[in-house]
């Protein structure tokens, strides 16, 4: 557009953009297109049979249901953690702040076996829960624990900068007008935080739905009970049912794209609400 309007002083536009587009197409776009083309080899009835098989439907319910619950838990506790890190001084704060990103840095397989060691029947935490009749590992509850682990930093890291940027004046004004602390949080702070909180929730949810490594160890992978959707893809692949695996992948991809659109919208809303430029 502006190519005709302004004269480019800086060199390398065609080279860098060309390389970017070529690399993007080769590594990401063409391979992803393969998924959709491969599905086209199935008839609509076959496609529907694969994606609506009872075992697969059970996996959607588990993956989406538990991911939603995990994201909700993360939204609540992530907000509290972000609040503590921004508003309170306490010893070890820098250490905790740095470790919040552990789920980004720790390989998922390591997280998976560590959580299993903690929550198995004879594990560190599991041995105290077992007498209470609570079993975590090899049950849907185990999937929940793993998804809470990997989703936490998304909420903390989206809410934290917004909290840091909050001016004290608004709260002081509300307080001088007689508002209680809770009223101030509910009516002054939360409306500003809400878009970021929802973004964090959506990011955690999106990550949880596709998560594989940290879940499969603790889930036990019992058909109809604790099989997540990504595992269904692996199962189909191991049976050399490429078309079947691809059909389920298409369902997941479409959902991911919808989530991506939602997240972009939420981020635009955050920017508008807080005046932050993202």
């Amino acid at each position: 557009m502006s190519a005709s309007r302004t004269f480019r002083v800086l060199p390398g536009f065609h080279l860098t953009l060309g390389y970017t587009l070529a690399y993007l197409s080769l590594i990401v776009l063409l391979p992803l297109a393969a998924v959709f083309l491969k599905t086209a080899s199935l008839s609509i009835a076959e496609f529907w049979n694969v994606i609506s098989a009872p075992r697969v439907v059970a996996s959607y319910k588990l993956s989406f249901g538990v991911s939603l619950i995990a994201a909700a838990i993360n939204a609540v506790f992530g907000l509290m953690l972000a609040w503590s890190l921004v508003r309170y001084s306490f010893p070890g704060k820098r250490f905790i702040d740095a470790l919040i990103d552990l789920p980004f840095a720790l390989p998922t397989a390591v997280a998976g076996i560590a959580l299993t060691a903690l929550y198995a029947k004879n594990g560190w935490i599991g041995q105290y829960l077992d007498p209470l009749g609570i079993q975590v590992a090899f049950k849907p509850l185990g999937v929940l624990v793993a998804l809470v682990f990997i989703g936490l930093p998304f909420v903390v890291r989206t809410v934290q900068p917004i909290l840091e940027d909050l001016d004290t004046e608004l709260e002081e004004a509300a307080a001088s007008l007689g508002a209680q602390r809770w009223q101030i949080f509910r009516h002054v702070i939360l409306p500003v935080l809400l878009p970021a909180l929802l973004t964090g929730f959506a990011l955690a949810f999106a990550r949880a739905v596709g998560e594989y490594g940290s879940v499969i160890f603790i889930a036990g992978n019992i058909p109809m009970v604790s099989e997540i959707t990504p595992l269904m893809i692996i199962t189909k692949l191991e049976q050399y049912d490429y078309a079947g695996a691809t059909a389920i992948a298409v369902v997941m991809l479409v959902l991911s794209f919808l989530l991506l659109l939602l997240i972009n919208g939420l981020q635009a809303w955050t920017a508008k609400r807080t005046g932050r430029d993202r």
């Binding site: 557009m1 502006s2 190519a3 480019r8 800086l10 060199p11 860098t16 953009l17 970017t20 587009l21 993007l24 391979p31 393969a34 998924v35 506790f77 953690l81 609040w83 503590s84 921004v86 508003r87 309170y88 001084s89 306490f90 704060k93 820098r94 702040d97 470790l99 919040i100 990103d101 552990l102 789920p103 720790l106 390989p107 998922t108 397989a109 997280a111 076996i113 959580l115 060691a117 682990f149 936490l152 998304f154 890291r157 989206t158 709260e171 509300a174 964090g200 990011l203 999106a206 998560e211 594989y212 990504p230 692996i234 050399y240 490429y242 691809t246 991911s256 991506l260 981020q267 993202r278």
Partner: protein, 306 residues
């Protein structure tokens, strides 16, 4: 899917904020509210983040240093380390070059479809790792599009090292680019334009003007990219074929040992990866500290890029 892993360049040095809020009556909670919130959030942190990390090291050393050490110097473990290092050594530089190119094109020039391009670059983050592996099986696998061609030319991609590298490149694709794009957009192009006008060529401009400005962001992106490259499990698992001593990366080696009930050995190898994660976090924190405390080279950095 930005925000969550990008460096918050505008952040005030952490810790100052708390003083600001705690010193004022209106922004302070009563002590019991404060201690309840702090108590709940720190307990949550301890149970969900700290405990799993501690568990890795305790379980790794459960059977003593000797078992620990022998698990690490086992032939299969060593070849897994080599393969993991190889995959990272190829994929990180590839994505580094891509990240710099993409950021240069996007931040320094105006063109149509820029927003779409930025969204597409982030795409690999919203794709399940399992699907990341699947797409390459569909292309290069025995039944894949290029499968016959690949077999004809006697190259192995799926269930071999090239497949592992490809899957790793895919999952680490956005790290450097998404770090540099907002940073370079915030810095604008005046400094580079000045350099060009003063007679520098494109390469000199990049090397002496742009690079010093983006070095922390670059390092930050590379560290995160590397951590993911070495730790990726799902995508690599699909394309690897799990051939011991040949196509096993460290995370896959952990899985195999674990599934064979060699728990101490599995956790020993896992502790290596956990150490990598801790080193990553340490460097990351250090870079954040440097980036935020370093005198900004330009004024408008204030509310940019965050």
């Amino acid at each position: 899917m930005s925000a969550a892993t990008t460096l918050n360049w505008a952040a005030a040095p952490r810790g100052n904020a708390a003083v600001r809020f705690e010193s004022r009556e209106a922004t302070r909670e009563t002590p019991w509210v404060k201690w309840t919130i702090l108590g709940i959030s720190l307990t949550f942190f301890a149970v969900f983040l700290l405990l799993p990390l501690v568990a890795v090291f305790v379980e790794a050393l459960r059977k003593g240093w000797e078992t620990y050490w022998s698990a690490l110097i086992h032939e299969d473990a060593l070849s897994a380390i080599m393969l993991t290092l190889t995959a990272a050594a190829i994929s990180v530089p590839l994505n580094l070059v891509f990240g710099v190119c993409a950021a240069w094109a996007i931040a320094k020039f105006e063109f149509r479809g820029k927003h779409l391009l930025i969204t597409l670059i982030d795409l690999p983050f919203s794709v399940s790792p399992v699907i990341a592996g699947l797409i390459y099986v569909l292309i290069f696998g025995a039944q894949g599009w290029l499968g016959p061609w690949v077999a004809e030319h006697d190259v192995k991609i799926i269930f071999a090292v090239p497949g592992i590298v490809l899957a790793t490149v895919f999952v680490t694709f956005p790290f450097v680019a998404r770090e540099l794009i907002p940073l370079m957009q915030a810095q604008g192009r005046e400094e580079e334009e000045a350099a060009i006008v003063l007679g520098a060529n494109g390469w000199q401009t990049f090397w002496y003007v742009t690079l010093p400005n983006i070095k922390w962001g670059l390092l930050y992106g590379v560290i995160l990219c590397n951590a993911r490259a070495m730790g990726e499990f799902g995508a690599v698992s699909v394309v690897s074929g799990h051939i011991r001593g040949q196509t096993n990366t460290l995370p896959l080696h952990v899985e195999i040992l674990y599934n064979e009930y060699q728990f101490a050995a599995a956790f020993a190898v896992a502790s290596l990866l956990a150490l990598l994660a801790l080193v990553t976090l340490a460097i990351k924190t250090w870079v954040e500290h440097r980036a935020c405390s370093a005198p900004p080279s330009r004024e408008p950095r204030q509310d940019a890029a965050s």
